[in-house]
Symmetry: C2
Subunit: 126 residues, 2 copies
DNA sequence: CACCCGTACTAACACAAATAATACAGATGG
DNA sequence: CCATCTGTATTATTTGTGTTAGTACGGGTG
C-alpha cells in the first residue's frame, strides 16, 4: 500500500494522484476486496500530507464505489469492484479514442499502436 | 478556423483548449502551412476572451514550432510542421500506453482496443 | 471510559489562470 | 508620411481551486 508515490510539485492535484494510486492498487489486485485501507490520519502522517487531502481522495473513491467507509470503523476496499470497473470503461475508451486520433494526426503508423497494445498486454501478464 | 469551441467552465485552462484546438486544425490540414492565423486581438474579440490569453496560446504554439509570429506582420502556420509532429510522438505514445494499461486493469477485452483503432482509422480516412 | 475512526466545518494561505489597461516597436497600405 | 494594424511586454487585480490548519462531533471498539 505504501507503494504510492506523491509528487507535491506536480501540476496534477495531490488528491487526484492519491485516487489514481489507490485505484491502481485495487484494480491490480494489490489490495484485495474487503481489505482495510490506512486510516485518514495515519496515511496523512505517513505521506506528510494534510488529512483533509486524504479525506478528499477517499470521498472520491467512495463516490466511485471502489471503497466504502464508515465512521468509527474505517475504510475498506469494496467487496465487488466490478461495477466500478464498468463505470470507468466509457471514459477509458474515450481517452483511448482521443489518443489514437492524435496519433493518426501525427502520422504514427497504425502498426505501432497495435504493437504497443501487445507489449502492454504481456507486460503485466505474469 | 472558427470551428474552435471554448468552454470557459471547463477545468482545463482556456489557453490549453486554444492550443489543442488550433493544433488540431493545423495537423488535420484544415489550416495549410503558411496560412495566416487570426490576429491576437481579432480572435480575442471573436471568442470573447482576453487578448492576453490568446497571446499565451500563440506563444506556446510557437514554442512548439507549429506556428511562427512576427511583430507587425502576424502569425502563420509553419511551413514545415513535421518536426512538431515528431516532437509529440513520445507524449502521445505515453498517453496511449497509460490508457491501454487502465483498460487492461478494467478487464476490457484486447480485441475491443484493436477494433477501436480500426474504427478511428477509417473514421477520418476519406 | 479512553481511543481511534470517518466526517464536517471554517479560516487562511498559495498558486495559476484570466482579466484589465497600457505601452512600445515593427510592418503595411493609402 | 502617417494612420492603423500587427506581435510583444509590463503591471495590477480578480478569481477559482488546491492545500493546510485547527477544531469539533458522533459512531464503533476494546
Amino acid at each position: 500500500m505504501s507503494n504510492i508515490r506523491i509528487d507535491v510539485k506536480s501540476r496534477t492535484p495531490i488528491f487526484e494522484q492519491l485516487c489514481a494510486g489507490i485505484r491502481e492498487e485495487i484494480l491490480s489486485g494489490a489490495m484485495a476486496p474487503g481489505e482495510a485501507l490506512p486510516s485518514v490520519r495515519a496515511l496523512a502522517c505517513e505521506l506528510a500530507i494534510n488529512p483533509n487531502t486524504i479525506q478528499k481522495a477517499y470521498a472520491e473513491l467512495e463516490r466511485q464505489k471502489l471503497i466504502s467507509s464508515a465512521p468509527g470503523r474505517g475504510s475498506f476496499v469494496s467487496d465487488d469492484i466490478r461495477p466500478a470497473m464498468g463505470a470507468f470503461e466509457e471514459k477509458i475508451l474515450a481517452d483511448l479514442r482521443a489518443a489514437v486520433h492524435r496519433a493518426r494526426l501525427c502520422s504514427i503508423a497504425k502498426e505501432k499502436l497495435t504493437e504497443l497494445i501487445d507489449k502492454e498486454w504481456e507486460g503485466t501478464k505474469p
